[in-house]
Subunit: 375 residues, 4 copies
């Protein structure tokens, strides 16, 4: 494909941190061109007004979703970085599905327009949680509202690239994993698939940088509240828990119940998960490590560290990489698996671009070769 024939990209909800990182990655991608960026509250503003660091790039001004002239703009791929719940309605329209009765207020007018006008085979990459849970009942339980795009849900492919590669190549709609699930699943799926660990004794202690909380105005995200401090949150009830369990169950072939506790750490980017597992009869930490080495031998973005090197977020900062390692626990029947990613890249925008590459038939790593930024 020549540079005159770049794929045309739209970003819905471009004013958040996920949107910013999508732009950072896509402006360096040789095969795509950003032609649409929406943001409801900041519609009408140039991107430089909300992200001055992007001022030097030739990017479209922000508009509201209502203002999109879909036929004219001729989008090939749309990234949805919209708030949870809003995505369902917008994507209903994009998928040309019959309108659901429970329309989200924000997009009520938008749907009809969208439904008939977007390109029929538009690729949709959703970064929200709206299509991650296969079971709409589980969605309703954890998100406190009915799923409003139930007819679309079965068409969504879960975007954990390393494990859904073939499905992703055929997908029209991809539900990108949450940041916590991404690190947890890369660490655990191979172990459960191979039956190396117990399915009912998995404890995930997760730590995340603050960008994961988004750009919304909440007191708890102010610099002064976060700096020089740390604390857990969502104890016993974080929404990423059912998502992790869903995919672990797929891997294990049986139900898996986890303990999951996230913590907020005073850094912008980075996510570390320290995972305590019980070994299956006869297994050792070395067996677990060997399984990960084999699983990821040909993966360009997942690295099993050598020896006893501890994964650290600074090893992946700004990159699409995941580093992982396995450690013996002092308790003979236990092991510790540690994984680190950049929550905004492999945990969000980077994995979304990785999926886009697959959907478009491009080399999977195109535009994702940035080395980690340390310092």
């Amino acid at each position: 494909m020549s540079s005159e024939q770049k794929f045309r990209i739209g970003i819905l909800g471009a004013s958040g941190y996920t949107g910013a990182d999508l732009v950072r990655l896509l402006v360096a991608h040789p095969n795509v061109e950003i032609v649409l960026m929406t943001a409801e509250r900041k519609a009408g503003q140039p991107i430089s007004a909300i992200f001055p660091h992007l001022a030097a790039y030739d990017l479209p001004d922000l508009i509201s979703i209502d203002e999109v002239e879909w036929p004219a703009i001729d989008i090939d791929v749309v990234f949805c970085a919209l708030p949870h719940a809003t995505s369902q309605q917008v994507i209903m329209g994009l998928m040309h599905e019959t309108k659901h009765s429970l329309l989200d207020e924000l997009v009520v007018e938008t749907q009809a327009d969208l439904a008939g006008q977007a390109k029929a085979d538009i690729k949709i990459i959703d970064l929200s949680a709206d299509f991650r849970l296969r079971d709409v009942g589980t969605y309703a339980e954890w998100y406190g509202r009915e799923h409003t795009a139930q007819s679309v849900q079965p068409k969504a492919v879960y975007g954990l690239t390393e494990f859904y590669r073939e499905e992703l190549k055929q997908a029209q709609l991809v539900a990108c994993p949450g940041c916590y699930p991404t690190a947890a699943l890369l660490a655990l799926v191979p172990l459960l698939k191979a039956g190396l660990i117990s399915t009912n004794d998995i404890i995930i202690d997760a730590k995340s940088g603050v960008s994961g909380a988004g750009r919304s105005l909440k007191e708890q995200n102010l610099f002064v509240e976060v700096a020089e401090a740390m604390h857990p949150y969502g104890l016993g009830a974080h929404r990423h828990m059912p998502e992790i369990e869903q995919e672990l169950a797929v891997a294990a072939g049986e139900d898996v119940s986890i303990s999951f506790t996230p913590h907020l750490v005073p850094m912008n980017r980075g996510e570390l998960e320290t995972i305590y597992v019980r070994l299956s009869e006869g297994q050792t930490a070395a067996d677990l490590k060997q399984q990960l080495i084999e699983t990821y031998a040909n993966e360009q973005f997942v690295t099993v560290l050598e020896g006893t090197a501890a994964p650290a977020t600074r090893m992946v900062r700004g990159s699409n990489r995941c580093v992982v390692n396995v450690f013996e626990d002092r308790q003979a029947d236990r092991a510790i698996v540690v994984a680190a990613i950049d929550n905004l890249v492999k945990g969000s925008s980077g994995q979304a671009v990785q999926n886009m590459n697959l959907m478009l038939g491009l080399d999977e790593g195109t535009g994702l070769q940035q080395a980690p930024m340390f310092p």
Copy 2:
């Protein structure tokens, strides 16, 4: 005691962060006066040269331990904030014990002088790890060297104030707990004493600010290595592990084996431990919480938070406080106990002063009423 009769305090090893925080607390203490501060490599310097923030206080210049004229200086209480292993020899001398054959090089000349000259009933508060482990074999195993003050070890009282109060009042030598053990024990000892949790399924995921690593020049403690990043260390083999197990075993009345993983967090102060426990038959998270509430009902420095408030390091920064809470896990037979302390205060210098107060017959909280500093 009138202000003319303040207790005379010496700090051995005053140039580290623990020393700095001891000074911060002691200059505000109404019943004591710092009359001696030692630092080997920085001997001869005024305190303002190494801790400019203390320049406004009337403090003695730093000298080496060799230079101390014990009879003349007439110390009532000595804090040992010396490197691990050095403490044993110095304290041997202070305790008037026969010299051990394996003398640390640094202090070989010092011992003889010390032995005969310090006040016979001098109170000694050791902040190193040298006397924390009751079993000298365990010490040798974890610290990679023979214990060189084995005759003194049995005289040391473990300085976890809330649980050794009566012994501390009588002690001549106190071995202050490590920072990680302090938080872990305050969270777990009451639960094990009451038999509410399993003794063989305790997972402690600990996070600490960087001051815990001390002021020594190591690449891994440089700002650029630590900022905007986090990682685990000492996986499966941290020296605080046997110390925690020792005291948990005392509480449980049987051996306890834990999994313990510390992490380095980009903040100066603060320590948070997220502890995953298995409930004893018939117990609930609420039972655990009730036990902590009852245990600490009359403790001024340990607070069980109300409702589902999550302990955060910013709640205790700069203070001698510990905040703790218990949470239901999604797995019915598990609970999560979270504790936060300031590693330099309750985890080190503050608890040392708290112990000093007991040893001197003062009110336990004297000089320790600083409110946490937030922001």
Copy 3:
């Protein structure tokens, strides 16, 4: 005064960072008792709900100003940490002044009640900017609104303690300086008084921690926006500029025009000002330093550093101290004066307490002896 006869303190606007630091200082003050805390939006909540780190203290619940029963509560001293402009109306009432026609909406009902009911000789310490500018025209110019308590303005004493000590002892109403003015004035007033520097070539480059921006929800104060970054703001037009000029003019006996540029630094606390001055004919940097040494020889909270030690914010963190030093510039007719304070303490709450002590006839340093917290 016995502990039964503590002065009764009210804090209006207690939910911000200034309020938190006032509480931190006042709970450790031996002669006062906090009996009233107001916060409009958080009225009805216990202090532990908004400042969990203060949960262990016996403090009144937050109420709205309207709810204060002034006669019953019998306040001796009120600290006003209210938003700028609100203070004027509240203080009008407290001072029993006739109501002004332009009432702030928030307090319209409150005024009448206040006016007649508070203790006639109540001491008022305002931490807002509302009474700092002697000239109400200058106020209107810089704050974009008419001063609504013009009859009260002349009664306000400017609370730069070291230079208004005698007036403060007699004052009923004190207008505490802004944080930037405090550092600038402590550095420059003695030099201008003595005629050692030019009045028309003063450049103040100021750097502040984020707590100075308050706890309000603004995107620019989110952790992710501030961390790992810095930038100037209010270029050429910051409101602290006329305040600094006002007091420098008093010192110089003539108009002084400054250049002042503040910067936001990724830290919670601390303020550093690097001030570039032109020397008067025949003067040297050493002369300037000597002048500062003499001025502050007997001041407990202002320290002129020795030699070429550079003031650093870590030298004053959490304390009421100011450190200052003078440096030769490479340009012979110039010198550089550097001052550091903790913006929340000497730059706000600490200086307010220092002033309170004077107003109440207490020793000026009572309750302000906290050593700086480093680490």
Copy 4:
């Protein structure tokens, strides 16, 4: 040039932060290949041992300079990120110059080998300060030692790309500017060239992230010393001062004397300079801005911000960009120029790569298109 014919790159001194950022940029550069990396103290180690974040890249192991087999390795371009003073000797050899009598101990054996063996037309890009000062007397004055490569000095081109482009295309040896000079010169050179500002009243207040201090083990660079704090250093005597003055004098056509004060800020990357200038007769801040706009109209890496947007380090983090703007001062005859760069990129490794591109006849921006990383 096909990918089989990539230029062969050597990095001398690859174990520091500058080396790490060079690698980050060069592994993404389409026309080069890193074939040599040296580090004296860490010789023999794989790069993953000292920079685990680079483990996924195919890079040569670290060796000492002595071990380099120059004929065999066939380097086209060598980057010298060696300590100041070491560079002179190594580059003497590379340039085939007669040995100087004052050989640096470290490299004494190396020189003879180097001198005769490296490719005759090898391109040398020095990131140290060793060849920045044209006058070897000035070098001796500020660096406290004689220049030991005086015959080479005249051949060095000062690598401020935007102003020495033509010379750089012909250069064999480039002396890359210091980080502080880069930002200062980009802001000031156009103004002095056009005579818009006074040559004797320039005050540069600079703020830098900690990576500028390098990876050496100094107490002042420990996390705990730097975090939550800031301070100035090198007051009146920083070594970047004569370098800035040298280039400003070239621009002005007369001697220029500046006041320059750097500050350390708790962040990894980023440099901000707030520059106070006096306007020439009849000039305004708008005139200055217009001059910058015209100068940089066609520059891809220097952006003059619109309106009153304040340059911020987060706008350039991780990128080769510089953002600059001009502000009116309140004093009519003054203006404030603010520039921000990433000290490791445009201030060091990025500008070095930009220069390499010119020296090799490549497009100047090749491999430097990374968008700034925010968050």
